[in-house]
């Protein structure tokens, strides 16, 4: 089951990855929360789950899923939900989260997070699936906005409208990925700060930070550049600027997680990014106090 936690202060932490494990454990005085990939543990042995539970006894742990595909007009796979529910039950994180994405259609596995058409059908489908997830796992997931390289076809509303509608329909809180927002705003030419003013700021329960790189299409499609969210690079400056704005406007304590999935730099380099996130939050809180 999900552990009951009283949110009292802003916290900054990092995603748990095997190559970072030693660095994380050696620096728990500078890491206030750890996010664990739930999907990595659905087939884990009892000893691996015990180790994770031991970790959760030392530092607050939240779990994050990538494979459910909640944002679909169809029904989430109940077997996958049950497997995530078993992991959550055995580890006892303080919360869990999933993406507002579809990842499969029938027998077709896309292999990653795809943006669904932004329509009333996917708002309704996402809300129903979030409710199913809440019933099976025993706690409502936070839901994360995703990065997309393609403007999803057959959409009849923009991303901010769609995300806000899902939050209202599902009663879920938002895991706001600021690099996903930055990448989408860059690629599809909208104002990321305007997006923040259009989603309910009091529903932001957690924040993701990450980095990315440019990718270029072929000559056939004009050699256009788009920003890919790859979790392999440092957090860029505009993402910290967005964090300042969230901290200025959010009435709730913020839980901020740095996501890094490879090309690992020295731990001190990642810890410096956590410190910079703390500085951004402090700046936002000071601006709020002065207003």
């Amino acid at each position: 089951m999900v552990a009951a936690v009283a949110e009292q202060a802003d916290r900054v932490g990092i995603g748990w990855r095997g190559p970072l494990a030693a660095g994380i454990l050696a620096n728990l005085d500078r890491i206030e929360i750890v996010e664990v990939m739930a999907d990595d543990f659905v087939d884990a042995s009892a000893s691996s789950l015990r180790a994770l539970r031991t970790l959760a006894a030392q530092v607050p742990v939240t779990m994050h899923g990538v494979s459910l595909g909640l944002a679909t007009a169809g029904m989430v796979d109940p077997r996958r939900l049950e497997r995530i529910g078993r992991v959550v039950d055995r580890v006892g994180p303080e919360s869990w989260s999933e993406h507002l994405a579809f990842v499969r259609a029938g027998e077709i596995e896309i292999g990653h997070l795809a943006a669904p058409p932004r329509t009333a059908s996917t708002v309704e489908g996402a809300a129903l699936n979030i409710e199913r997830a809440a019933r099976t796992v025993g706690a409502r997931p936070l839901v994360e906005n995703i990065a997309t390289l393609i403007d999803p076809p057959a959409s009849d509303r923009d991303e901010a409208t769609w995300v806000a509608e899902v939050l209202v329909a599902s009663d879920a809180d938002l895991l706001l990925d600021l690099h996903n927002l930055h990448a989408n705003a860059t690629n599809f030419h909208f104002d990321a700060h305007g997006f923040l003013r259009r989603v309910p700021v009091d529903r932001i329960g957690a924040i993701h930070l990450a980095g990315g790189r440019w990718v270029t299409s072929s000559d056939e499609t004009g050699g256009e550049r788009r920003l890919l969210d790859d979790h392999l690079h440092d957090v860029p400056d505009p993402v910290y600027d967005l964090l300042v704005e969230v901290a200025t406007r959010s009435p709730r304590p913020l839980t901020v997680i740095l996501e890094r999935d490879g090309r690992y730099p020295p731990m001190e380099h990642l810890l410096a990014q956590l410190d910079r996130a703390r500085q951004a939050i402090a700046k936002g809180r000071q601006q709020a106090a002065a207003a």
Partner: protein, 81 residues
Amino acid sequence: MSLRVESFLARLYVDAGARQRFLRDPDVVARRYGLSEAERAAFVAIDRVGLELAAASFARKRAGGRRRRRLLRLIERLARG
């Protein structure tokens, strides 16, 4: 918006042959898939840059996912002794 739209989009992401046929004649291919007139119009106007880049990104992720799952299975076997 029907589940058929999601299914068609997923097919375009993972099947390079289907994607090429679609890009040559989107309306005909979308019609064969059973999409409505409004849905077909949306796919005719698809973001072609995004389709190409997203499909390439998903292909890399599928390959990386297979490697990751093999590694996790190996770690679990080692943990079990």
